[in-house]
Amino acid sequence: MAQMTLVQAITSTLAHEMERDSRVVCLGEDVGLNGGVFRVTDGLQKRFGKDRVIDTPLSESGIMGASIGLAIAGMRPIPEIQFEGFLGPAYDQLVNHAARFRNRTRGTVTVPMTVRVPVGGGIHAPEFHSDSPEAIYTHNPGLKVVMPGTPTDAKGLLLSAIRDPDPVVFFEPKRVYRSFREEVPDEEYTIPIGKAKVVSEGTDVTVISWGASVFQCLAAMDELPEDVSAELIDLRTIHPMDSEAVVASVEKTGRAVVVQEAPRLCSVASEVAALIQERCFLRLHAPVQRVTGFDTIMPYAKLENDYLPDAKRVGEAIRQVLAY
């Protein structure tokens, strides 16, 4: 076991898989010699060569569309989009092409690729560098959407993503990249896409989150009165969602809070709330609370902490559903 940050876990997993499978190539802006702006692909070009770790032109639709072609022709491309804010130019290729090929060809043309994208706020980056667009790629059918919150999960989910026969959007929460280290098992293991993780068990309220927000939830739970027993679920996969895990937990607790960085309207939090009220209606003691970013543009760095849900807001929501 080695102590690793999220970045290190991803780097070493990419290396592992490139070693194992010669079809795997990494491509994107600055991923080569520079190792990516977050250094996630650091050292990989040196190790695997310029044909496997490829600096591309500054061209997100190009990266996405060419990766689709690579995948169709039998490669396992891992395109990196430098920040989630630059998924915009690649949107059409991702949701209208990567996501649709299998279905529209009845399984005869497929796109096994893993789109790596740093995501979310909290690192005081410039504008367009702090968004959380996971709902967009969940609403559009045909993609899988993953967002690991820990180095250990990242390793297992990334292996699953690369080996998945379908396109996976692999969101990497920037705030977690180097925020802590943990023991990551040395041996190969996969974590199935579509399985949530119960971070801590509880009986009074279910807190559902993913990505960097999980840590705000943990902080909030630390502040709860001794006698409150909260269950924390890290979805890890946004789509397909582990509805079973969510429903099972809320069936037990009867109360739920969903926490995300993204704005509220038509979001993953909306979906979770809608799902819970559908499936757990008679068990619910209080409305599902959504603690989310606001329905405005993610502000620039000076105000970003006022936008992102923090432990205080999460704690308050928990107290509200308990007091309802």
């Binding site: 061209s59 060419a66 043309v109």
Partner: protein, 378 residues
Amino acid sequence: MPIRTVYQATIEHTQILDERGVLDPALSKPGTPGILTDEQVLHLYERMLEARAVDERAFVLQRSNRMYTYPQNKGQEAAALGSGFAMRRGTDWIVPCYRENAAMVMHGMPWHHIYLHWMGDERGNVVPPGVRVMPIAVPIGTQMLHATGIAWAAKLRREDAVVITYFGDGATSEGDFHEALNFAATFGVPAIFFCQNNQWAISVPRETQTASETIAQKGLGYGAACQQVDGNDLFAVHKAVYDARERARAGGGVTIIEAMTYRLGDHTTADDARRYRDQAEVEAWQARDPILRTRVYLESKGLWDAQRQRAGEERAKAFATEVVRAAEGIAPPKPEEMFDHLYAEMPPELRLQRDTKRTSSLGQDPSQAGLRSEPQRA
């Protein structure tokens, strides 16, 4: 030097078989690589007749409500067949738009799949095993990036495969055209960008589409090889693609070819081209119909005559009837199929939607077993 020339370029237009059906002797000198033989021309002429017949039948089917919107290929058969014929079936890739049906079929896509597509049936996009033809691409310009990626894979894997992708004059205005050509040229992938410049993008004429003198010169900005050809000239089209393919195989990278042709029909069966273009223009191009031109050539060589023409047209019609039969002989798709191919493995919630589709409003019927507390698993 205060002012110095840092770049110079020239674009040429090639025609080998002229409007009167006469072959240029210099360009078709015996032994010139990529010049079609008589036998090949005869073969391609029959394919042209078939393509035209299937195309015209589609129009009839649409008008009698047996097909939905259909984009006619009429007038562009030389461009599709001349180019397709220069590519090697099963090795090279065809990445089409929707006006080169004959090229798709030449490389193994069944004709009736093309019908099925426009009949609103995804099974029209099924690519048979071993066939290297991508499905029809409706969103304009997008397929060129897939072609680039496929060609890139061939290069990375050191496969001897070349990719040709087709697009219209209108498609060159999309950002994806630009990104695809730039990627292709930058990485030196074995790809051929084949523009069917049929002078119109629905109602928008070529001059409104872009202010450049030619489409071919758009390749200059990427360092691609650029050429314009008479797109209704089977010989010139074939030769240009043949050369481009050889160049690509030799590591010479990407070529853009602008084939000057014309859409003789409406944009699609939902369009009425009389609203926006002159009949005189259409008639001028009708006189340059590639089928006509090829026929005159074959007749001038004594390889064809009126009687063979009648027989050929009959065969083509019968062929079209077979295509209709194949397309209409398939049982209608089952509603469940819309779920079956979204992912390799169906996620539980999707399976729930599939399995309860016929019985509930949306997989949410609380009366269904275990639904409320335990979603049913795959």
